[in-house]
Symmetry: C2
């Protein structure tokens, strides 16, 4: 069943009008009719079963029938944020879509020393808006309870300042993999408890410089290897998120 | 350093001519000169350091300088094969590239009941050749010791027959995730020893039918959930491979 996020709490006034995009997807793309059911996530993350109650020229209206019986959360017990040195081309979109499916809490793109891509100020808002929309679509498709927030940080220093409240921070560095570092990720996972948070930092295509890694280490960011193979810039965050899901959600 | 696979053992006769594609990538794309070093993987998986010894109108020649000092394998200790119901569009390419980076042993595409994509016999060889090339490029880029084999199986029955020597077989089924199945993947991993093999089967966009899953269960394929979120057809195999790498290569 399709899932949609409601931007305002819709419990008192019913039926309510679906926003334009939701109405378009439900009615035009999925060909919903009056009576068609869907899941609606309230801003408080609770999921309700609802149905389309009317479709006319003013838009589509829906009614909430009640909270979903097995309304268990589909969120990771530890909030995992990822920060990616600005990647080239369409890779930011791939990262946002796949990371959302894999349960990411937020994605921060930051300008790093070897980033070839630039996000000039004039285009940044438009880029972030587009990525936020991809996150919302992926969150609906993968049945998340929240939409991850996509943001930009202008430098590594800013990133480190803005994330210093996060419980543990790691950086995936290609050189660590080459030096066969393979214990830090598991050690970090084992230190985290439900409700804690984790930030994982990744370089752009050209990797992170040793200066950048030294700067992170001064701020207690741990260098962690992600196995013996060299992963592309867009693959490494997905590895980390899948490993986190495996550890926190399946292995237990 | 760039890595290339040698199709024939090149130890006796040196210098040797690089194949056309390797020469093009090394000389034209990476602008190598005489003396530029690269890694060369012999058909026996051993990795040698070598260098370009001449470049002229006949092609580029190389010399092997000796086995790589830390020639540790970058292969998963358990061979993981994935089988995917034929996906739509470019997704097969994405799966092959990313699965190769994540250490897959082989990728089998099979025609399943809800596959919308068709691989007609006339176009199949060309498709597989293209996917095999993607696997080779990704294997070189990610510093693999082998190139995963990409193949096609005409039905689920064929797939099950062809893979019945594999140590353990699992299927990732959306319905299992919905029913909160979350113990089988970890249980399966824990039963596997170095040298064993694992096959993981995934449906196409529309998922697997309950008939297909029943057919698999009759052949001792275990239904395994991959966490509480609904993963797209191209994301699920990457989750499984990353989880396998985490379990077998990092966690230990």
């Amino acid at each position: 069943m399709q899932r949609y996020f409601l931007t305002t709490k819709q419990l008192i006034k019913q039926p309510f009008y679906l926003d334009e995009q939701t109405a378009h997807h439900l009615v035009t793309v999925l060909r919903a009719e009056v009576g068609t059911q869907a899941e609606f996530v309230q801003p408080d993350q609770l999921v309700y079963l609802g149905h389309v109650s009317s479709i006319n020229q003013d838009g589509a209206q829906a009614v909430l029938d009640g909270p979903l019986a097995k309304s268990s959360s589909s969120e990771l017990p530890v909030s995992v944020s990822i920060a990616c040195g600005l990647p080239k081309g369409e890779k930011a979109q791939l990262i946002v879509q796949k990371a959302t499916e894999l349960g990411v809490h937020e994605v921060i793109f930051f300008t790093s020393q070897r980033s070839i891509a630039k996000w000039p100020a004039a285009k940044r808002a438009r880029k972030l808006e587009r990525l936020q929309q991809i996150a919302q679509n992926a969150a609906e498709q993968s049945h998340r309870n929240i939409v991850p927030v996509i943001s930009y940080s202008k430098s590594l220093s800013s990133l480190l300042d803005e994330t210093d409240k996060i419980t543990r921070r790691v950086v995936a560095w290609e050189e660590a993999a080459k030096q066969n570092e393979k214990s830090q990720l598991a050690a970090t996972f084992s230190e985290l408890q439900s409700g804690d948070s984790l930030l994982a930092i990744f370089g752009p295509e050209g990797g992170l410089t040793s200066d950048e890694v030294a700067q992170m280490q001064q701020k207690q960011v741990i260098v962690a290897g992600l196995g013996p193979r060299i992963l592309r810039t867009e693959t490494a965050p997905l590895y980390l998120l899948a490993a986190a899901s495996y550890y926190f959600e399946l292995e237990d």
